[in-house]
Structure formats: C-alpha cells, structure tokens
Symmetry: C2
Subunit: 575 residues, 2 copies
C-alpha cells in the first residue's frame, strides 16, 4: 500500500471533544470518523486492525470447539418476548416496526437468537456440549456514548453461546473459555488485564467474570487484593462483617439525647464526639410503586446500589420524603420506626453496639444502640461499597486496593434462564426431558482495539503490537526525488511484500518531519527509513515504533533484517 493513496486525514491538533488519548489519536490518525452520537465509520487502518483482532478471536474460539455462525442484526420482537426481555430491558434495546407494523429490535446480545438456532438440534443429550459464536455488528442505544470506541452505540462484537447437560460440564467449559480469553488478550498485545468476579446484571445467571483492562480512564471500579489475588468489580465485591463490638460497648444503655437541628451524620457525630463508624445511618429509597425502603448502614460507609437492586430484584430511586410518609428525615433510626416501609440492615451493623442513630423524633438521637439487643430479628445483608484498605473477602487482610478499568470481555454462567423461558429441552440417556444449561461469552472488538491503543501509545501516536497493527512495516523514502534512494526503496518495497510482509510505503515528496509524524500516527511497529544520506554509507535505518530497536543495516541485508525483526516481534505475541 502506498501511503499517498490511503484515504483519511491525519492531523496534529487534538480534537476538543476527545477526552481520552486513544480516541484523540484514532481520530487524528485517520482511523475513524464520527457519523452520529456513538456511531463511527472506520477507515482502512482501523478496519485492518479490527480484522486482525477478529481473526485472533476466531482462532481461539475454534480452538475451544466453537462453531462460527451468524445471527441476524435485526430480530423479531416476538423472539425477545419469548425470553421476557422485550419488556424487561430498558431503552438500550432499540425497538422499531417494519412496513407491516411487526415489532423488530436491533440485536444488542443474542441469547434468544442462539436458543432459537439450536432449539431443535439440541433435542438429545448425545449432541452436547456445543458452542456457537458469531462476530457481528450490534447496537445498544447507550444514553452516554463516550471515549471513541470505548463506549459506542454500534459496535462489532464476538458473542458465543455454549450449551451443556450439566452445571459441572458448563463449569469445565467456562474455565476453558476463560483461558481462551486470556490468550486473546495476550495475542492482541494487551498486558494489563485482570479478570474480576462481576455482577451479572440483566443477563441472568450467577457466576460471571469480567475481563478488565486496568487503566485510570476506565469507567468501572475494581477491588483487588494484592495479598491473595482476589479481584472483583466493585459492583460485586463483597464487604465482610466487621469484628463484633466489645462487651463494654454492648453493655451501654440506649439513651435519647437532644440534637437540635442536627440532621447529618457529621453533625451528630461531631456533637456527640463519636467517630462516624459509631453511627447507624439511614438511607431511604423508593421503589417504582412509591413504597419506601429504609436501609441502615454504618455511618462511614456508602451503599452499593447494584447490590441493593439485586437483593430487591427491583429498581429503586433516591426517596422523596413526604410529610405523610411517617419518616422524619435526619432523625430516622431503627428503634421505634413507625412508618410502614421495608427495612434492611447492612452487614456492617451486624454485632455492632455503642452506636448513635436517629430516634424517629425531631431533634433527638439515640446513643448506646446495640443492634442485637435493640433490633431483635434484624437480618443483615451486604449492601456496602467496598473501600480502599477494607478487609479482603477472600483472605481477610485489610489490603483491598481500588483501581479503574475498562470491561473488554465478559463470560457468564447463564444456567437455564433462557432455555427454560424459551422451551428448549433435551432427552437425557434415560429418556427424561431436561433443560440445557447455557454459558455466554462476549468480547467487543472495537473496544479491545481502543484499549490496546490506550495502553500502548506515546504523545505522537499509537504503538500497535505487531499482531494487530494495520501493517507490519512502514517504509519511508526521504527525498524520493533522489534516484538512488527511490530505486532502492522501490525494490525493498517489492522485496518485503514478496516475502509476505504487510508494508505501507511512503514515497511522498514531503519533509522528513511530516513523514515521521504520519508514521507515528499509524503506529506500525517496524520502520525502515531510506534516505540519500544513508545511501552514501550503503545503509538504511531500521527501528521499532517503541524505540526499543534502532539500527543501521547495509542495503544488501535490509530485507533480511526487517524480516527477522518482524518474526521476532510476532514470536513475542505467539502463544
């Protein structure tokens, strides 16, 4: 490919609307173009990167006996009605009607389509296990598209669906897929990846993992324990129960104290000279039917609303406390709470004593609250957000660190949610009807490309790993009006291509500065510079985009050296 023919513009200025570096560089480098909110076109360099990532994924899915299929982008609404998700999924699911008024949706995930495809095939236990996958365009009507390819509305995704006759078989296969995912990231050259236990959200099922690219620009928060290797999405990270209160604290009596006008934990604790850990905070939510939910939690902790929603199996919002609710904002406590609302207790209060809390009376709080004694029958569940330095739910060490990450893959053990809802059965070896157990496995291709760019770039452009780089070799001929330089560069271009290398060749009559800026933006790993000055010494320059290699090679050995370097770089990413 001659660079002067490459469609797309490269420029120096960082676009004002690009918040993260990978987005800015991929716009500046002529990789992508904005079409609409969260919708982009891809120029040739990005399309080549995407195809290489897709091929890596395809090979790894084939290696775990996956069969590539293709599901439709446009699905009948009736299919999503079968699973119940036509109603339950929010407006991320783009719904529309065809010319006959039949409801259609744009596929954002394909569990329904997968079950529909194999429902009859999977009628006998002898056909299990099997896995089908596709690499296809998806659409999710995201309310907040951001970060270029990191969060878009239209995206290319590999999604896989496995079917099993037992939970044990699913779990064994799930582990194989887990390892296949690790290989995908390694081969794509992404280093800083951790797998975390995750909340399964709308997908259903129980056990699931997210593969997270750890980066400060990530949207997700991760809880990691460097002591034992525990890793979880903050949404899913369990908070362990604290040590129970001492006997001394437990023996203190409940006493009402006047706290005039003090409505916040800070005000009350300051006034009572208590640390916030010694308070019982009330947080009030409302369900869709307006009913109140009062959640008591230790005063120094925050609520993880995902845990709350999963517990309630219902969405909630911050409450509007009305006069007739029976709730006295600022003075709500677990003792003498009269209002007819649902009351929940966070695990942080389990066994706690010597706490202050609202007295359900304006301008009064209690002190000496002993949960066991004063709230008999309270059931404690985990609703709190884990914090830096908290106890690890796995090893118990107070070593939790928080990091930010971008989700670059997820795997779910779905159980029988979809097969049950959609009536997929098989006959077991004894002729009994059974429900197949499913797993599903997703990777966003564009998001992975952007993550690699985010991890591996400098101020001048991406530094693409050779396995996914748009080309392997970037050949620059400086002063292409010099006959000798041009003739050698032309012959080297042909030679490298004949050896099977992917070469982008820049023989424009431009300054070295412009040519090198463009080369930096294209981020091709191996660079060869031919110039009249080096030709005088019978040499050309060979270097890597990451600057780890920089050498001069005699012209007669140039092609051999480049080939060896390409092989070496490729070998480093081969598993």
């Amino acid at each position: 490919m001659k660079l002067d023919k490459l469609v797309g513009e490269r420029f120096k200025e960082r676009p004002a609307d690009c918040v993260i570096d990978s987005h800015a560089l991929m716009v500046r480098g002529g990789y992508m173009k904005y079409v609409a909110n969260g919708i982009y076109s891809q120029y040739m360099p990005l399309k080549r990167i995407m195809r290489k990532i897709e091929q890596i994924i395809r090979e790894e899915m084939d290696a775990v006996d996956g069969q590539e299929v293709l599901f439709p982008v446009v699905l009948p609404g009736s299919l999503w009605e079968e699973s119940g998700r036509y109603e339950s999924v929010g407006s991320e699911l783009l719904r529309m009607k065809d010319r006959n008024g039949s409801p259609l949706v744009l596929g954002m995930t394909h569990e329904e389509a997968a079950v529909q495809l194999v429902r009859e095939y999977g009628g006998s236990y002898t056909r299990y296990p099997f896995m089908v996958y596709q690499i296809q365009t998806k659409f999710r009507d995201e309310p907040r598209a951001r970060g270029g390819l990191i969060r878009v509305r239209e995206f290319t995704m590999k999604d896989a669906y496995s079917f099993h006759t037992s939970q044990e078989d699913l779990e064994a296969y799930y582990k194989e897929c887990f390892r296949a995912y690790e290989r995908v990231y390694k081969r794509a050259g992404l280093k800083n990846v951790v797998a975390v236990a995750s909340d399964s959200g709308m997908m259903g099922g129980n056990i699931s993992h997210e593969f997270m690219f750890v980066t400060p620009v990530g949207e997700d928060s991760l809880a990691l324990c460097p002591q034992c290797g525990y890793r979880a999405n903050m949404e899913a990270a369990e908070c362990v129960a604290p040590a129970p209160a001492s006997d001394g604290e437990k023996s203190r009596a409940l006493g009402k104290v006047p706290t005039p006008g003090m409505q916040t934990i800070e005000e009350v604790c300051n006034f009572l000279n208590l640390p916030k850990e010694k308070s019982c905070k009330a947080v009030i939510y409302q369900k869709d039917d307006e009913r109140y939910v009062v959640l008591f939690i230790r005063g120094d902790l925050e609520i993880n609303e995902t845990k709350l929603i999963n517990f309630l199996k219902a969405t909630v919002r911050t409450a509007v406390i009305t006069e007739d609710s029976g709730l006295l904002a600022g003075y709500i406590g677990p003792v003498n709470l009269k209002a007819g609302c649902e009351v929940l207790y966070d695990r942080s209060l389990q066994g706690a004593a010597g706490l202050c809390c609202g007295a359900n009376e304006v301008n009064y709080h209690f002190t000496g609250l002993n949960m066991e004694r004063d709230c008999p029958g309270a059931v404690f569940n985990d609703f709190a957000k884990i914090r830096e330095g908290d106890a690890c739910p796995q090893c118990g060490e107070h070593a939790i660190t928080l990091e930010r990450g971008i989700e670059i893959g997820n795997i779910f053990q779905l159980g029988t949610k979809y097969t049950k809802a959609m009536g997929m059965h098989y006959l077991d070896s004894e002729g009994n009807q059974q429900l197949p157990v499913m797993g599903c496995y997703g990777i966003g291709v564009g998001r992975l490309a952007a993550s690699v760019c985010e991890e591996s770039h400098d101020n001048f452009g991406p530094i693409w790993p050779i396995s996914i780089a748009p080309w392997q070799v970037h050949l620059c001929c400086l002063r292409a009006d010099d006959g000798e330089a041009k003739a050698f560069a032309d012959s080297l271009y042909k030679d490298l291509q004949a050896r099977g290398m992917e070469v982008i060749y820049d023989d424009r009559l431009l300054s070295a500065g412009v040519m090198f800026s463009d080369a930096d933006l294209l981020g091709v790993p191996v660079r060869v510079v031919v110039s009249p000055r080096n030709m005088k010494d019978g040499c050309c320059e060979i270097s890597t985009r990451d600057k780890s290699v920089s050498m001069k090679a005699p012209v007669a050995e140039a092609a051999d050296e480049v080939e060896a370097l390409v092989k070496k770089l490729s070998g480093e990413l081969t598993i």
Copy 2:
C-alpha cells in the same frame, strides 16, 4: 471438523415453503434457519461459504486499488436528508427513532455514508481517484421476501464507492470494476452469468450494468441478442421503431365505423378483420396528483412501466376512469381526444398508418388512422416491453431472446448526484471548485452463494465449487467400529489436515446411506470413503461430488491423490 459435532439438522423432506431448489437444499442441509420473514440465521457451513466468497470479493476489490472500510449499519436520518433520499425512498428504508427521538435508518445502501467519510479527504484533485468498499450487513424492508437467500430483508453485501475528477476517469475505472466482477463470479464457480445494461432506478446516474445469473427461477427478465451479444434487463431494453407504413396504407382515409359495445383491442380487431398490429391502443395511468396520462401504443405491444416512470420522473398507477374525466373507456383514441390529460405516444406508432383506434365516442372507432397526418406534432418515445423475436436495438436483427435471471451484482455510474447534493467539492489544478464524479459497485454475498447452489446441485444436495465449499474434503469412515478402517481413517484425517486441507470427517456409526445423504447435502467437492471392504484390498475410494472423478487409491497414496485432486479442482477456478 468431526461431522458428529456439526450443529444443525439435515433431513430428507423438502420443506413445503421452499419454492426454489437452492432454498430447499440449504434448509435441508442445515445451512440456514428461518428467524423472521426475510431474516435468517446461518449455521457454520453457510458461514464458511460466505467467508470464502467475501475473501474472493475482498481480493478482487483490493486488486482494483479498493480500500476496505466499514460504514455503520445504523445511520442518522439527517445523513439521508442531505441526499434527499430520506424522503424519496419508500418503505424499503426502515426508519426508526432512538431514545432521544432522533431519526435513524438502517443502511440499505451507503452512498451517503461514503460521501460523508471522504468529503474532507477528497478536497484536492491530487487525491483522486480512490475507491472505498465495505462488506457489511444491510437491511431492506422488502415487501416480498422469497427464495431463501435470493431475496431477503437482511443480507451481507459488498458495496464499493469510487470517486473521480472526470467522467472519463470514472468510465475507465468502471471497466476495471466490470472485469473484477467477472473474476469474482468465475472464481466463485458461477458459470451462467451475463452483464446487462440496466435501469438505474433510485440510485440515480445513467450508465449501469447488472450482472445476471441466468436461471429459469430468476425474478428479472433479460433481453439477449445471440447475433450481436446485446444484453439488457427488460426494464432497460430499447424497442426500435418499426418500418414505416406503406404508401398505400398512408393514403387510406380516416373513417368512423360503428363498433357497438366493443371495448377491447381483440373485439375491435376481430370485428374489423385487422391484425392487432394494425391498432392503436390507449393505456391510461394516473399520477399521484390524480392527473391522467394517456399513452398510445401499437395494439400488440405491452407497456414497460419502468420506461414510463423514468420518462415522467414520477410514479404512476393504473387509472380509475371517472365519468367527469372526459375519457370514454374502450373508445379512447388520439383524434378528437378532448380530456385535459397528458398524452404520450410510443415509438411503435411512429410512421404507422392504416390503424384502427377509438373515436372518443361511445360505440365508434376510427379506421385508416395515419399517425403523421392525423396526429400532427406527436412526439414518439420508447415505452414498450421488448418481446422474443423483436429487432435487436444494437444489430437490428429480429433475434431477441428473453431469459430469466437473478441479479447478483450491479455497477452504476452515479455522476455527481450525491456529491452535489451533499456539498462535496475538490479544487482542481487551477484552484477551481469542482464536483467529484462517483461510481458504485454492489454484490450480495448470500445471494451469490444461493445462486451457485441453484446452478450447481442435483436432487441430493448442492455441488459446491471448491473455491467456496464449506470444506474441501469429506472423509467418511464406514463401520467405524472396525479397528483397521477407523485407524486408517483417523490417520488420513490428520494427514490431510496437516497438509493444509479443510476436512469434515464423518466417523459416526451409521449406515452408509445416511452418511452419504449427509455428504450429498453438505456438497463438499472431494469425497473419500474408507470401509472395511476396501481396506481388504488396501484401498480407499476417492470421488468428486459431481461424479466426474471416481477411483480407488492404495491407502499409501490416498493423501497424495486427495491433495492432487484438491489442487486440480482449485486450479480450475483460479484466474
């Protein structure tokens, strides 16, 4: 790949809803599954065929300097408003709104997206010509999906867009693309393809060609001249003017004759003892604004409504003739026609004389109509449908034959329709602003796959050309419970794979009949059968799906023979 693991069901019965063979075989063979009207999922064998066709197309597009890009499936309505097609295209264009109420459409063709992608890049003449293409899912809300993959609503298409600084440059490139298309069909193994001049329809532009797979099950009609090679879609085939009438006919006087109750050409001609060629028929249409269009044509001819619509640049429908229209149905003629309607004359009437026609008076017709004399000022245009045996518009021989065909590709010279509407300009070498000239080039991948199947199948299944077959070799081990046969088949399977061949291996313990039925349905070109009986002779059987090769090979030479056969078949489809 082991056949016993292949997801998808194969069966014998022809599905009742399958009209054409390729559809029936691709359903029976486990290639595709119905999801909704015109929407299918693809199982692995079809997905593999699709990918091979896509790769052939990709290579041929790259060979004409195309750059692979990717446009969005979901496009903002505003982009289609720029070209005017948001309004002008009918309900094939699926329109919807996102969560914020912004109009979106599903891309059915991507001229707008192509111009949007390169509008800034193409700002200088130095950057021309260039071509971008994509292989992507499209959606067209077809009123009548039919024939399996022949006419679907969701489909995979390669669409390419070229940009030029002159019509001459476009024409030169158009010819290159024309030849690239011929190579695609040849490499995909489709033989019976003709390129025909076509009507450009909603795409705009003037010169365009359709590549037609000639088959009795085609939806399109083609006019072909075996004498000179003229080829056109019937929609676009020109009808030439007939020889002028003789002086004797011209000299006959116009005379009114009573034709009581006779309203059809048949009745009037029978009564007057005239051939239908000697009548002037009136066909009445109405435009969207209710205005009448009266088209006179020779009585033996039919109207090609596409020609009429293109001439009027407006859609028309068959008229409802009301009493106050001034038109007397059954008696309408060109002389004394009073009604205030648009009057058109088909070229078949040019120079004609001695005709009968309506007298615009109930129960009366004229005879002796001389167009030149009696319809002074009439302008004659081509509105007729060409017929078998008609004069060829190219060589004049009365040799036209009609065939049916399936459109498997189309190429258009678009001119400046889109660049003008969307404000894409470039500066020429003298600094003047100019409009780029565009071409566009489409191939439906699934329709091509189905066409190959339609052309190349027998009663038992498809006969895939090796270039697009899901696998190259189908290995059957009969009686896999026989140790010797199974051991040899297993080793041959490994050997063939190690030599780079794509093998599907059937070692199920089933009857030879079932195994061969499945092999026929999968249509893999080279078949190897290992059986205990042949093992006794130290042989296995090697044959081709099309039965042109059938041999026994000693086991020691089996892999060599298979490899040679695969190479020979591949070589026949290489250009």
